[in-house]
């Protein structure tokens, strides 16, 4: 039924004495893909990972890997028999073993003597550090060693629990790139848990958003970013302008002009009122007060980041309560007080719960 490495989580429930942590979680991970579970701390994402790994037992539901049921609330397979690799936060290298022994920990004596460990060290670029103790490694090197250790047994599935959050910002980007490139080469099915939306969007093939113990949306990074299910999620994933719109015939009429609705979905026969998400980078800003199409306004604030700048624009005689956010190229940053005209490009999507911006 399922291919090797396909993970299916269906209607999974898990709670502790007083609180439900996971409430009917459904998650499908395609073989060989890298999926991210994205959520704020306390949303249950680490618990989900631990149930998949087998460190906690499900109350109800089903966890299956490669078609084999691992846990259905009654029958449960012990973690050591699941063939699932696990990289916890900060790596958790065994402090009493050197890098080489850590990487070979899951292998049999014979396997350890073979070339496997050397190859793994080569793969993560730690061959020169094989005899170092864990505390003599940098944070990134520890992560890579932990990854090699988890991959040593050729797991059908690899679980990464916030693997980059303990690294400092400058190191994080580089380690993230190295690890994702490595995982792509290996083709191991991977589930990554993170609270960093940028990490989830940039690394994963598929992103599942977990909130209050349920997956509220799963899809490609572009789908999630472009068509979030509600306004709260839209804001969590990045800066968002919530615009009132009239939805009609696959189009949204807003004060910025008429925009295509994403996927042409919700082709309502008659026009309805709604809220659409317009990302700051979809806005085009031109200085001046010409009479062309668009929303007139004035620059209130300019946050300059170098590669780009985020403008807060207060619309002139408009029903919008909050300023519009527009992202422009660094060299196009405009001085505060400049009169501007704003238009939008691309497609937009309608969301629920527009009231809470």
């Amino acid at each position: 039924m399922s291919q090797t490495g396909a993970l299916e989580v269906a209607d999974l429930w898990k709670g502790y004495s007083s609180t439900e942590v996971l409430r009917s979680v459904d998650l499908d991970v395609a073989p060989g893909s890298l999926s991210a579970v994205l959520g704020l701390s306390g949303c249950g994402k680490t618990t989900l990972l631990r149930v998949i790994a087998g460190f906690e037992r499900a109350q109800r539901g089903r966890v299956a890997l490669s078609g084999q049921v691992l846990d259905d609330g009654r029958n449960y397979i012990a973690p050591e028999r699941r063939g699932i690799g696990y990289v916890p936060q900060e790596g958790a290298l065994f402090p009493h073993l050197d890098v080489r022994a850590n990487v070979g920990f899951g292998l049999s004596r014979a396997e350890r003597r073979g070339a496997t460990v050397g190859e793994l060290l080569e793969m993560v670029g730690l061959s020169a550090l094989a005899r170092r103790m864990p505390h003599e490694l940098s944070g990134g090197e520890q992560q890579r060693a932990a990854l090699a250790r988890a991959l040593a047994r050729r797991p059908a599935l690899l679980l990464l629990d916030e693997p980059f959050s303990s690294l400092d910002a400058t190191l994080r980007g580089a380690v993230r790139e190295e690890v994702s490139a490595l995982l792509r080469r290996q083709g191991t099915t991977t589930v990554l848990v993170t609270h960093d939306q940028e990490e989830a969007l940039s690394l994963a093939d598929s992103v599942a958003v977990l909130r209050d113990g349920t997956i509220i949306q799963q899809g490609s990074p572009a789908d999630i970013y472009g068509a979030p299910t509600d306004a709260r999620l839209a804001g969590f994933l990045g800066e968002a302008n919530l615009m009132e719109a009239v939805l009609e015939n696959g189009q949204a009429r807003t004060s910025l002009g008429t925009l295509e609705l994403r996927g042409g979905a919700s082709r309502a026969p008659s026009s309805v009122q709604g809220i659409v998400v317009v990302r700051p980078e979809q806005l085009r800003v031109r200085a001046g007060t010409d009479g062309g199409e668009g929303l007139r306004g004035r620059v209130e604030q300019c946050r300059y980041y170098g590669h780009d700048a985020l403008l807060s624009i207060h619309p002139e005689d408009s029903p919008l309560a909050s300023p519009l956010l527009a992202r422009v190229h660094g060299e196009e940053a405009l001085a505060v007080g400049t009169d501007v005209v704003v238009t939008a490009t691309g497609t937009v999507s309608a969301v629920d719960g527009g009231a809470s911006r």
């Binding site: 028999r81 920990f105 505390h135």
Partner: protein
Amino acid sequence: MSTLASPAPRASNRWTRAWAGRRRLPLATVLGATLVGALVLLPLVFLVVEAQQSGWSEMERLLFRHNTAVLLWNTLRLVVASTSLCLLIGVGAAWCVERTTIPGRRLWTVLLVLPLGIPDFVVGFGWVSIDHGLHGYLAAVMVMTLSLYPLVFLPAVAGLAGVDPALEEVARSLGMGPWKVFFRVTLRQMLPAVLGGCLLVTLGLLAEFGAFEILQYQTFTVAIFTEFKLGFDAAAACALSLVLVALGVAALVGELALVGRGRLERIGSGARRNAPKVALGALTLPVLAGLLALAALALGVPVGALAYWSIRGGSTTLPSASILTDAAHTAELSAAAAALSTALAIPVTIAAMRYRNRLTMTIERLALLPQALPGLVVALGLVSFSVRYALPLYQSALELVVAYAILFLPLAVVGVRAALALAPVRLEEVARSLGRRPASVWLTVTLPLIAPGLGVAFLLVFISSCTELTATLLLRPTGINTLATQFWVYTTDFSYGAAAPYAALIVAISAVPAYLLSRRMAGISRTMRP
């Protein structure tokens, strides 16, 4: 300071570097620390002097006779059996209270630590007073194990609470079953703490005299005491003492080598999750019964025996009114010893922590050496010294106080060290930069910060001195008895009823730190899992 005013920035840099790297050791601290080092060595030196007074060949004859081999065999088989049992019981009980769903874990932690507060000779008294036939090897193993296992239990509980559960989970995900994970990962992480506990058990076994005398089991301490007190053969006693010192130092070095090789550095700093508890299910009752049996044997029997004899009273000898006088003597001697020991520990610790070099570290190690020295041995060395060079000191209160101070110096050093760690040099530097002079900094910054720690050091030495028996028996001034020696007089007379109140008072005093310690342990594991 004049260089500071120099306008050249380079000169100022050099000044700061010199200040940070090579601050000069104050002369008073050097002298103080050196004096302490010499004081610790004094009894050892005079042990050698005394032992070889009739020549090396005589000493050789003393050491290589059959009797010594018997003593060695008795001591070693006791050490091996009792330390192994303590390891087994200590780690097993720690696992039960720390990692299972056993009900009442805080209560169990306290109950299982408390036997630490009962001196071994009182435990021995408790058992013999209910069964006169109890003596020999197996009795000694049982009594000492029941008395000393908390020394392993305590660090094992702390160790288990400190093991990062992520390590165990990773090992599971790498294909290891729970038992294998326990032995290869969990136990390995606890090893330094547990080995430290085993060392204390071994040293305790080597140093113990009272319990073995009561149980009629011949070890080195018993033989040394007999040679000296009954045989008046100081040379033989000192020669045997040297063997005992060698055994203690061997245990110290052995532990150092074992732990040193596997030193564990903590890596990572993030929040750890709590280790999941193993559900005992049907095993709950048997485990509860096991813990109850342990607590009953280790705590119930000695306390019960004391209570029984105290209530029944001495049918022949009334508990003499001298108990108050003896308690006062005990308190005076112990307070003096605690003050002296803490005062001695301060220069040693400051030198070792603030001015780290080979000399200061050697002196600190010397100050910790008495850990491996039985009270009997220190006392013999001091007797040998005073008889030769300071006769007025012999059997004076001062000599006994000095013996206590040396004997419990390691406790004081550990306490002062912990206290001083709370007063980082940084703070003193800040105070200096705000215009305070060194003496003023010491009084207004350092001392207030370390005062509570000094109090703890004082208390630890005070309590240990209150319950000391062996050195006191040798050194006490004529006509002065402490609680322990008077207890001993009654016990050797088989006047259990008269002895019991003394023992009860000793236990009451020494139960205080044991209780505080156990509360702290229970507290530690509680804060780790909210």
